[in-house]
Subunit: 463 residues, 2 copies
């Protein structure tokens, strides 16, 4: 169908002004008087709506005036400038065809709905202003991330979702099976007979693609993943989802400094991209969702991220222990309250915290010379806390296996991973960015359920 | 680390010629004579390798000469032009530092390995020529698809992976559960007690994001998904994987013609993109993997896709029934042999086959006026057969529910989907592109296991 979009009209108005055009879209609101009426139309392609004026010279004038919010229309008319009005132009309609009526019980009548209510109609909420903005920006952020890495010749790797190993020992994973749950086959010893399962062994949904990504970094040097990951954690918070997307770059011939440089460049690139490509949406967030959002993002763009070691950070935070629920001490895992205090109160900008005690970090992180801390880094941002976690990886075969022994990890489960340290090992580093957390950070939305199209959380798997 | 990449050197040689540079990479091969030696180095950033010359003036000359294939090196030296040699330039090394040795049992010695063997070392195979080419091109195709849709302002939607519904009735799905398989909790009636499961109900891995994507098309007009999908089919073929990626665009205010126009534009865009961005890899495939690949792809670029209805196609094919294992008749599902005959023998270019009998297509496809066929389309390409399947969707509430009744589908399972036909329904259409099939088509690789980094197939879930 040859329909002009609202985006085209706003972006390229000169081409359409005073011409007859056809547009399709949905009624956001409608008011009529005796001889004419106004329709506010959205076609989903642009954050702004389009005003349509129609007159009683139209033969279906009275039918149009009775239409419900949400009706789909195809409108023919002339685009005319309206220099005195709030909106820059409007369509003077010559023909309006109802493409699909909207039942009067349409849940999105012209009034404010709470986010809680809108979560119960996740198939309709993208039609509202806020969620139009959220999900367009989510799409742009995803693309900006791809563009950032592809411009730098990183190879995009699809690491597997179904996995036979619980690699990080991350614990709570979803099992994947084709066995009949009503009648699980058992072996003679009374154990689950996985030889009858699809993969002939127990399988889970992945919690991270990192270990697989490392194998590709050792072939392509710079790679990244961008795919779904899963956690079966029973945590019903505003920041946890059971299914979420993650970005995990991994670079060979790179150390922790390269890693931080990449993370800072990436965050700034993405912020710049959405500010440029969704200015209307970003203003909307800053005005109605999270006051000061734009200032905060511009501040990030214009500042160099701070750098502090974990040990220094603990010293800084200990002075304010009376302000915290959890007291800080060397060796403790930093809580969100501490992270936010660091980035919001002490540094007032994003901060990289490096060199954490090995006990609170994963086995694969590179041991520092002090033998107490590892070359790990968390990036903390105002309003969120940790947004990125990364590290240089242990590239020494002997040190890595020694650490695995300490932690009781079985070498035979990690043979492929150890091979990377046996055949041309190089210093390498990478990080993980939780995509939803990034969307929350850039939109100011405060509940992860409101930045995922169809969220999956404890006891919630609708649509 | 400030290392120049092999890609930078090839792309921007003038900047580096006769300068001292440092590069990191892995030894592909090494030969030495008395006073000097040659190293062929790959750093994974470019399909071509780089020749390094080193001399016995170097203090670790003899150590270098003993290095194994696969060793990681950091090399300092001067890039010099070599107009008489096969390669355009080489590095005259002044310093070679071993970053990580390679054990002499390195499986990728300089000889030809079969794809079957390389599948057993999926963590190392991306270091070989063929898989360097495959997985770089895979990455480029993925990005080209994003770029295609984003340039057209399509919104990228992450549809959920874990789903509570078996939407297409597609049958063989993977179950997702946190129940203890060794001791499944049961209700008083002896059924599985899903109230104890993570989502408090049975859940599966999705087979398609389409129905969810439709809800977003009704908000944003043009959307696309690009994510993993799963089939627990017990089919051990060269074309089926249990986990694969799929692209599913969906457009509101669009019919079957718009759908075909989009599919054709997309395929041509992606082909053009990889030819431009990976010319070395594409020549390699055409020379060593699938003779004639480049001709075939250029032929696609330069032709308009053919259009034929299913009914016409059946008439054409029936004349050749003696050449088929499965005889063609009106009402039959076309087999790969028929699809390939159509596109390779009869049309000699890609073909859209439209208007299939409703019995062999999904419930949501729009009924044609003949009440026998639906507005479905398959896109067939030479060498593969079906690469894309799509349709205009039934947008009429009554017709859709009538069809669901015929097929015994429960309306309460599809309430959200029916809502789309109740609140501002519009004509709309979309299609699904199997990403791996697309990669096979563009690389000429004939086994799906060789275009997925870590393939999951029946009885196979390694790494």
């Amino acid at each position: 169908m040859d329909l002009v979009t609202v985006r085209q009209i706003y972006k390229d108005r000169e081409q359409y002004l005073n011409k007859e055009i056809s547009i399709g879209g949905w009624v956001r609101s409608l008011r009529d008087s005796k001889a004419f009426g106004f329709i506010v139309l959205s076609d989903g392609t642009y954050f702004e709506t389009l005003q349509v004026v129609y007159h009683d010279t139209m033969e279906n004038f009275s039918e149009i005036s009775k239409l419900s919010v949400g009706t789909a229309l195809i409108i023919k008319g002339t685009l005319v400038a309206t220099p005195e009005a709030k909106q820059p132009f409007e369509i003077q309609a010559t023909e309006i065809v109802v493409e699909g009526a909207s039942s009067p019980d349409y849940p999105l009548q012209k009034k404010r709905h709470s986010f809680e209510y809108l979560r119960t109609i996740s198939h309709l909420r993208p039609r509202t202003n806020t969620f139009q903005a959220v999900f367009r920006v989510r799409s742009l952020i995803a693309y900006a991330i791809h563009q950032f890495f592809q411009e730098r010749d990183f190879v995009y790797v699809h690491t597997p979702l179904i996995t036979g190993s619980d690699c990080e020992g991350a614990g709570e994973m979803f099992q994947v099976t084709t066995l009949d749950l009503n009648d699980i086959p058992k072996t003679d010893e009374g154990k689950v007979d996985f030889s009858q399962d699809f993969f002939c062994k127990p399988t889970n949904l992945t919690v991270s693609g990192q270990l697989n990504a490392e194998t590709y970094a050792m072939a392509f040097r710079n790679v990244y993943t961008f795919g779904p990951t899963f956690r079966a954690e029973n945590s019903n918070t505003t920041r946890h989802a059971a299914e979420f997307w993650m970005i995990e770059p991994e670079m060979a011939f790179a150390d922790l400094n390269d890693d931080m440089e990449l993370a800072e460049s990436m965050l700034k690139y993405v912020i710049r991209y959405v500010l440029e490509h969704a200015p209307e949406e970003m203003s909307f967030f800053s005005q109605f969702v999270d006051k000061g959002l734009l200032d905060r993002l511009h501040n990030v763009l214009n500042s160099e991220f701070a750098h502090v070691t974990y040990t220094e950070a603990v010293e800084l935070l200990e002075k304010h222990n009376d302000e915290f629920d959890y007291k800080v001490f060397w060796g403790c895992d930093l809580q969100t309250e501490h992270e936010r205090y660091l980035t919001e109160q002490l540094f007032k900008k994003p901060v990289f915290v490096t060199d954490y005690p090995k006990e609170i970090k994963a086995f694969y992180m590179k041991m520092n010379l002090d033998n107490k801390t590892v070359a790990a880094v968390d990036c903390l941002v105002p309003g969120i806390g940790e947004i990125i976690g990364g590290s240089q990886r242990e590239d020494d075969y002997d040190k890595l296996t020694a650490r695995m022994d300490e932690l009781g990890l079985k070498k035979e489960d990690y043979q492929f991973y150890l091979d990377l340290r046996k055949y041309g090992s190089t210093r390498h580093a990478g990080f993980g960015l939780g995509f939803e957390r990034c969307v929350m950070y850039l939109t100011g939305m405060s509940n992860i359920r409101d930045v995922v199209p169809f969220p999956r959380t404890v006891n919630n798997c609708e649509l």
